[in-house]
């Protein structure tokens, strides 16, 4: 039985992944901002087979509260060995371009807070000699594009941070998993036109849970995004700057 912390547990991808762990009978700590939504998800996960489903209300920007969150999680679950960091927002790029406050806030929510939580988890898992830290980054972090480069650069920071952390912890029995979803049909993207590149949260959740259990270093989900992003990364900057993507 895994003892799993899920940060941003009301997000569609996190909830879908939590259902996979519930089927396996794991114990879960669900963290998010909305108490009644967390409670509804916890009840659902218990019916689906979770050994335990606890809730904890916290805004991810309250980073000083992370040590207390992890203490409380270990206490209530009887330990902690797995974490999925899944919170985030879909930044309004246009607003980020005109408001310093918005840009800083988006960077804090989508980048800094995930890194701070990773750092705190890393020290604890290193000390206990085992554990898995999974973080949802994004294909948007693989290359900056005009449509969402504030969000993208926050995710790029997460990708780079987890890459280094993975090396540091490799011989300490701790796995670090960087997850890069492509287009996922979540409430955040309900009004977008969907094509063949879109995946459902349920299918994405399955891939993420399996990747976490196997301790894979980097997961593109769906898998074909690895190929798409390889090509996008290869485009020379003097060409890329002219593209409208």
């Amino acid at each position: 039985m895994r003892r799993i912390l899920i940060m941003g547990a009301t997000s569609a991808i996190a909830e879908a992944t939590a259902r996979e762990f519930a089927l396996l009978g794991d114990a879960l700590m669900l963290v998010g901002r909305n108490a009644e939504r967390l409670q509804a998800i916890a009840e659902d996960l218990k019916l689906r087979g979770a050994k335990q489903a606890e809730t904890y209300v916290l805004d991810a920007r309250e980073m000083m509260a992370y040590p207390k969150l992890l203490d409380e999680t270990s206490l209530r679950l009887g330990g902690l060995d797995t974490a999925l960091i899944a919170h985030g927002t879909l930044s309004d790029q246009a607003l980020c371009e005109t408001s310093i406050e918005t840009m800083l806030n988006e960077f804090r929510v989508n980048g800094v807070s995930a890194m701070v939580l990773c750092a705190e988890l890393a020290n604890r898992f290193e000390a206990q000699g085992h554990g898995t830290i999974a973080v949802i980054s994004s294909v948007a972090g693989d290359r900056g594009r005009q449509s969402n480069y504030v969000y993208g650069s926050a995710k790029a920071a997460v990708t780079t941070f987890t890459s280094g952390l993975r090396q540091r912890l490799y011989n300490k029995g701790v796995r670090v998993v960087t997850i890069k979803p492509g287009f996922v049909d979540t409430p955040m993207t309900a009004s977008f036109k969907k094509g063949p590149l879109w995946a459902s949260p349920a299918s994405v959740g399955k891939v993420i849970a399996r990747g976490m259990i196997l301790g894979k270093p980097v997961i593109y989900v769906p898998w074909f995004w690895r190929g798409i992003m390889s090509i996008i990364k290869l485009v020379p900057e003097f060409v890329f700057q002219r593209l409208r993507i």
């Binding site: 509804a40 689906r48 409430p187 309900a190 969907k194």
Partner: protein, 433 residues
């Protein structure tokens, strides 16, 4: 994946604004025209709101409570029957009524008061709903059951999603020994034989249904295969869940008169059509088409119509013969013509479709005016017989036809939420032609 907001028949329509529902605590968006969209298994426009807003309901997919001792299940209305089966079958429970696909939401099953192969025993889906919660656009929350707000219960069961948003529901599941169905299948030569087998089977078999060869004419008219079964104790491990998918929409319909005749003739004559002792897993028994996800794409970019009517038993043979004759001669019919009898259990909804008689369902590839003309002649026969056409399958019946099939519509309309509407509702309540 299918574009959210697309109906199963894939007929074209005007753009709709899509708003995702994420949880059962959310307020309704402030939009002038709303309709809830479940999992897109209604064929025509009961699930469309052209030019208006669609509430994408699949986000309401949480279980709220399940008691393995009593079989009471409470869930949010966007939960699929397939998800319910996965949760409850291991402890010996099953949906009390299931339509021919398990990929329907609970909310959609209530709003269309769906039926299954056990209608002659169990009635329709609404008969097994203990309670549900309805959110009105003015913010009012109504808990509805047969005792509490019974008029709202009757309006919402079969109410085509027009009375407000169904947010959560409690249903009474059915005890089963496992995932298996034991029964048999047999060929029959004509409609008279069909009714004879039905009469002989309804007492002993929970599930009965027949497939008809819609390409047969003359002496073969009305021939088909009768399938019946009961839940049976487990014997072996369930089959693997391999699922095929129609990956693309072919540029033209794959369904034409040649492929039709070949399929129907082969299907009728294949050895498996006559089996004395059959044991089915529940999936192929109830959901033969769920094995091919998005099979609706085979009809090509123009989409297709489905026609399902119910006819009073009295005189049904003559009318069915007339219908089959016209469909057979037109060459416009389809692979699957399903025939079944409805029993006497009264439906609870004001606009519920099931009523005692024989119900016929079949697909028609969209060939434009030719197809619509044939469907109109079928409507004439249905109306003359005092029958009805199923709104969940419909995309074209006239306002006059609807109003004669569902005379309670005017009383029902008092319960329609002022902000809720659908393309279907606007179509069938327009001026009487």
């Amino acid at each position: 994946m299918n574009q959210p907001g697309t109906a199963w028949g894939r007929l074209p329509g005007a753009p709709q604004r899509l708003v995702a529902l994420t949880d059962r605590f959310q307020a309704l968006p402030d939009e002038p025209s709303l309709l809830t969209f479940g999992n897109g298994r209604s064929y025509g426009d009961v699930g469309r709101n052209d030019g208006g807003t669609l509430l994408i309901g699949r986000g309401l997919d949480r279980f709220i409570g399940f008691d393995p001792a009593t079989g009471r299940l409470e869930c949010e209305a966007g939960v699929l029957l397939s998800e319910i089966i996965d949760l409850v079958l291991p402890s010996g429970w099953f949906p009390p009524v299931t339509p021919g696909t398990r990929f329907v939401t609970v909310g959609g099953a209530i709003a269309n008061d769906v039926h299954g192969k056990n209608h002659h025993r169990a009635g329709s889906f609404g008969n097994h709903i203990l309670e549900f919660e309805l959110l009105r656009s003015d913010g009012q929350i109504l808990r509805c059951s047969r005792d509490q707000n019974p008029d709202w219960f009757a309006a919402t069961v079969g109410g085509l999603g027009l009375t407000g948003l169904i947010r959560r529901a409690t249903l009474q599941l059915k005890r089963v020994p496992g995932p298996w169905i034991r029964g048999d299948s047999q060929r029959f030569a004509n409609l008279k034989a069909f009714f004879a087998i039905t009469a002989a089977s309804d007492g002993d078999y929970e599930y009965t249904v027949a497939w008809l060869d819609c390409s047969a004419t003359g002496a073969n008219l009305g021939r088909g295969i009768f399938i019946r079964g009961n839940h049976a104790p487990a014997t072996e491990a369930p089959p693997s869940g391999r699922v095929l998918r129609m990956p693309i929409t072919p540029p033209i319909s794959l369904v034409n008169s040649l492929s039709l005749r070949a399929f129907n003739t082969l299907y009728y004559h294949r050895p498996a059509a006559q089996v004395n002792q059959a044991l089915w897993h529940y999936r192929p028994f109830f959901y033969p088409l769920d094995g091919i996800l998005e099979w609706n794409r085979m009809y090509g970019p123009s989409g297709f119509y489905q026609y399902q009517c119910v006819l009073p038993t009295e005189g049904a043979i003559d009318i069915l013969s007339e219908m089959l004759g016209r469909i057979g001669r037109s060459g416009l019919g389809s692979f699957l013509l399903v025939l079944k009898t409805f029993g006497a259990v009264p439906s609870l909804g004001m606009l519920s479709f099931p009523r005692p008689g024989a119900t016929l369902a079949l697909d028609f590839p969209n060939r434009g005016a030719e197809t619509l003309a044939l469907l109109n002649t079928l409507d004439d026969l249905t109306r003359a017989a005092g029958g009805a056409v199923y709104p969940a399958k419909d995309a074209r019946m006239s306002a006059a036809s609807f109003q004669s099939y569902f005379p309670a519509w005017r009383g029902f309309s008092r319960y329609v939420d002022p902000k809720f509407s659908s393309s279907f509702w606007r179509r069938v309540t327009g001026d009487v032609a």
